[in-house]
Symmetry: C2
Subunit: 696 residues, 2 copies
Amino acid sequence: MTTDSREPGAESPIAKRLLLGDPLTSEKLDEQLLPKKMALPIFASDALSSVAYAPQELLMILLIGGTAFLAFSPWVATAVVILLIVVVASYRQLIKAYPSGGGDYEVASKNLGEVPGVVVASALLVDYVLTVAVSVSSGVDNIISAVPELNPLRVELAIGFVILIVIVNLRGVREASLVFAIPTYIFIGSVIVMVLVGLTRTALGDAPVASSAQYGVEPESLTQVAVILLVLRAFSSGCSALTGVEAVSNGVPAFRRPKVRNAQTTLTLMGGIAILMFAGLTVLALVANVHYAENPCHLIGFDCENTPQPSLMAQVSAATFGMGSIPFYIVQAATACVLLLAANTAFNGFPLLGSVLARDGYAPKALNTRGDRLVFSNGMIILGIAAIGVLVVYQADLTTLIQLYIIGVFVSFSLGQVGMVRHWRRTLRELHVAPPDDEDGTRTAEERRSARTGLVINSVGAAMTVSVLVIVTVTKFTHGAWLVFIAIPILATLMIGVHRYYRDVEAEIEPDDQTRFGAEGDVAIVLVGKLQKPVIKALDYALAARHEHTLAVHIAVSQAESDLLQKQWAEHDIPVQLVIVESPYRTFASPVAQFIKQWREKHGSSVVTVYLPQYIVGHWWESFLHNRRARRIANQLMLVHGVSITLVPWLLDSSELIYGRRSRPLPGQERAGLPSAQPAHHQRATRPAGPPDVAS
Amino acid sequence: MTTDSREPGAESPIAKRLLLGDPLTSEKLDEQLLPKKMALPIFASDALSSVAYAPQELLMILLIGGTAFLAFSPWVATAVVILLIVVVASYRQLIKAYPSGGGDYEVASKNLGEVPGVVVASALLVDYVLTVAVSVSSGVDNIISAVPELNPLRVELAIGFVILIVIVNLRGVREASLVFAIPTYIFIGSVIVMVLVGLTRTALGDAPVASSAQYGVEPESLTQVAVILLVLRAFSSGCSALTGVEAVSNGVPAFRRPKVRNAQTTLTLMGGIAILMFAGLTVLALVANVHYAENPCHLIGFDCENTPQPSLMAQVSAATFGMGSIPFYIVQAATACVLLLAANTAFNGFPLLGSVLARDGYAPKALNTRGDRLVFSNGMIILGIAAIGVLVVYQADLTTLIQLYIIGVFVSFSLGQVGMVRHWRRTLRELHVAPPDDEDGTRTAEERRSARTGLVINSVGAAMTVSVLVIVTVTKFTHGAWLVFIAIPILATLMIGVHRYYRDVEAEIEPDDQTRFGAEGDVAIVLVGKLQKPVIKALDYALAARHEHTLAVHIAVSQAESDLLQKQWAEHDIPVQLVIVESPYRTFASPVAQFIKQWREKHGSSVVTVYLPQYIVGHWWESFLHNRRARRIANQLMLVHGVSITLVPWLLDSSELIYGRRSRPLPGQERAGLPSAQPAHHQRATRPAGPPDVAS
């Protein structure tokens, strides 16, 4: 598939060989893909970890109205479970319809247009920050519940963990490894065991009793309306159990074939487990009659000044297994681990979304150059700083953070679902007009059926998620959620701005009738400072390129230097003519520009190629010690009409160390189903020290 | 002066024309140089401004021992004046011997060796920071003395001024302008007038009386030793009057011809004025019997809680002209202005010293690329931050800062003087062996005479400055000066480290017998993404360079894109063969590298030139939106043996705005005697967006 406009077939063999591609790659790609048993922990840690705080927040809000209000909790919990089922069902549809991994963003932008698309994207970005903040805070909560002595260090611990995660990710982390899988499975296992043990004990008449059961609660006196609002708030807080469900839909490409099937199965599995754990924990908490108060000081008899309120998870496991027992510590440890893993997932999802946005031109193209560690590093550092900022502002207080959290989640849920409804509608219309593509038209009939199912499911999903979004907004806006409503539009506007910019540039560089060939003349100028190996290499290459004319130009700022150079030039008798150009102002670029001008006056217009030696170094700091001058010269000469710059690399010994660097996995690699063995990856570790750059 | 190794004389006419240089330059350079009347304010503001605080600090220390100790002050002041005379005389010699503007650093490194050289350099760098801190604090002091309401804002004001100066300098400031000259002359004038008025009034029996005259002083009871130490401390504090004297010696190249003569005259003039003002102020302060206490609360009857202690300058001028009178405000305003100018001088001296250090390889070479605004900006921001740090730590408290200040000054004084002694010694030895270079040998005789004078003067200077350094160290070490003794070695070590690094690299790239010409083969690869103007330009240039082979290579990551490209390729029928290279991993560099490898296997080894289009943009933020990919590809391909990268610039419309930029003066330009009209300066404003850079 080589297009030969002139010399026919000269290159085709090579082209062919390359075209067919290195035979390894396809296998490589496959063995990189995730089996379900690995996919579950990777994509589920976020969703499952949320059951560590969802029941607690649900009961806590109800408790504001006093212990009597806990009677509402079964109903509220049921509502959450139903919602969870619906959302899972809807996402199964979404996965089927959009297996490319774009998730809600893709659905919204394809079916609802640009603005909803970027709104979803912004909401997701905000969520990634909050996922980190919420998960880490909850993780720290559970650690403190097990080791109360750490209470004074709450915020420091949280920040510490974020920094740790950032570092780990900067170093590169293989998500599809046991280290990630085991804690999730232990968490699932231990919690389910705990629920079973707890319920069996209850059945045997020895119901577990929480440490906080003894404390009474000062109820706030509430009006009719307030009661309803309170219940709704409890529901919205409980909805935090749904966060992270969308993760699978973004990771479809990472699944083993059949991708869609496996993804759907995993999603269902995850949903089932989540429901089991959420319901189980809520019930057990009610049985053990855990009193978890928004303001611990409302617990009558509880020393809220000096002792931290243990998390619901901790109270339940203490009640079930006994405080300080080994299973207790296992549960707490597993919980903390899973929550930190959930935080880690954000660091994988963030760059992925970034690259999708970049692909569509809503974010700097740089984010789409997979494998540019630098880009990812920056992204992760930004994410880390944002999360730390949030943690500091809200003092790592889970309850406050939850308020901000689920807005974004439900913004993307709702828009995603609405988008799906649109999608199915269109599909059905198309299927109507479409002629049956096989004789008896079974395929279309079947497609139509599946589309109808999809339409129904997603309509329900849309209806519910939208109404929940309304509830969440109403109940949480004044509790800090307004921040999210500021952040999302700002991000969305930025994205649209970037998109406009790219569009304008595209238009600007679109070839038109003026675009013609026919630059003529050809002169190579090798800039020579001292006579050193890099310069000689540059000269050598210039000669090898056999330009029409090849000149060596020395910008003389010091008489001594230029005399020495001419002496050496004669000694080495270099087959290139050396021109000395005086620079009274100690500038470099302008004398060269002037020289080029004069050359053209004499020899007529011609394309000029300026050769600059370019150091390649190994240590980051070396780049501060190297050819800024080459940089400046290149910058300025590139502004001269008809000049191009040729960088002739010179690898300093220090750059050898780069070959020692092992290739490191990139964030989100497994989630995107990309091969972890990035070819020539280690090369990315090098730093050209003197490229023509002033910016960025 | 063109060396023609092969084709004789082909280029010589151009070369000649360039060699002789644009006839304007020399004149231009001259008109840029400073007449004495401008040089004085530029170089003197630092030295003269110090009389605004020197007498105050001197008397203040003595007053610790009680009013009786003021009796010592005439003697201490005289000692300072004598020292000042000696130092001025010594620097006249230094200027004569080293007119290149290297100052103490040059003298020390040339005569005493590397380590003393870098120590001086470090001391000077530290001093630049402290000059800013001390001058600004003193300036704020004098403002507060005139407007006591501002007292609570002392630190904020100081920081504000530093930031202001940084901004002004970042914008570019023409030092040789009246704005800089006038305040200095007003300051000199008003202070001298004040002294005369004050003394006349005293002669007429109506001696001015300071506001603080009424307050008694609680004397500390002192031992014999303590008394001596106190007097010595007073002396060292008084020596702060000498700070800034070296400025002229660093600025010799900036003077009109005859440079040395003019510089010497200016130095003498400055010294005279400084002595006049210092002595005058001290006497007047004694007459008006100003009681300025280190701890205002030691002043009996002074409400130290609520009212700030007015500066000595303020008290004297209030006593002479009357508090709140117009002349009073003139004096205070002029003083404040001069002090801020003095701070500003540091922002000009800093980059100058930086470039000298860079030239000698003790600082990143980048600092020597004059006219790289970026470099200077960074330098000034660093200086600003350091100064602000110091101001915050010491709460802009002049007295504490003075303690740190003069150490550095005298370190460089002493080493400079010792160096000079060495210098003269050597000169004399050389003159002995040297044969008389004219028949009657008068020249040598005369030279010998002047060398002897120099030797005598500098020996005295060395002796005094060294002993003062000892005194200063002894008396101030415990008062905070130890910080300086930590900072200087650290800086010095860094500099030596940088020097070693450059030396090693030099050695590494020294041409040797292995260095041979003879790269053969020549293939140009134009990387083609979409068919857009920049790509077409790159193709055009590649063709113009008439390489042996020219190929267009497209890395196919999306089937659709590559199909489209091939279609367009055929349509535009481009005279270059298009090769499609599949990239299963969505990487770009490695498929190209692979292609090159295979090409060579087929066609034998050859030099490969890869053409990359390169956007040139106008706004800094645009660079974040542009070809990072080109960057990464270039970085990686430069690691492939025998590959060089050709950047073909494409100016986006936005880059047009750069031509609107006016050229701005660079810091230290006047001081270094460089032309302010840097040719093609505006070009520096552009930012290539996609150069092959990951580092810095």
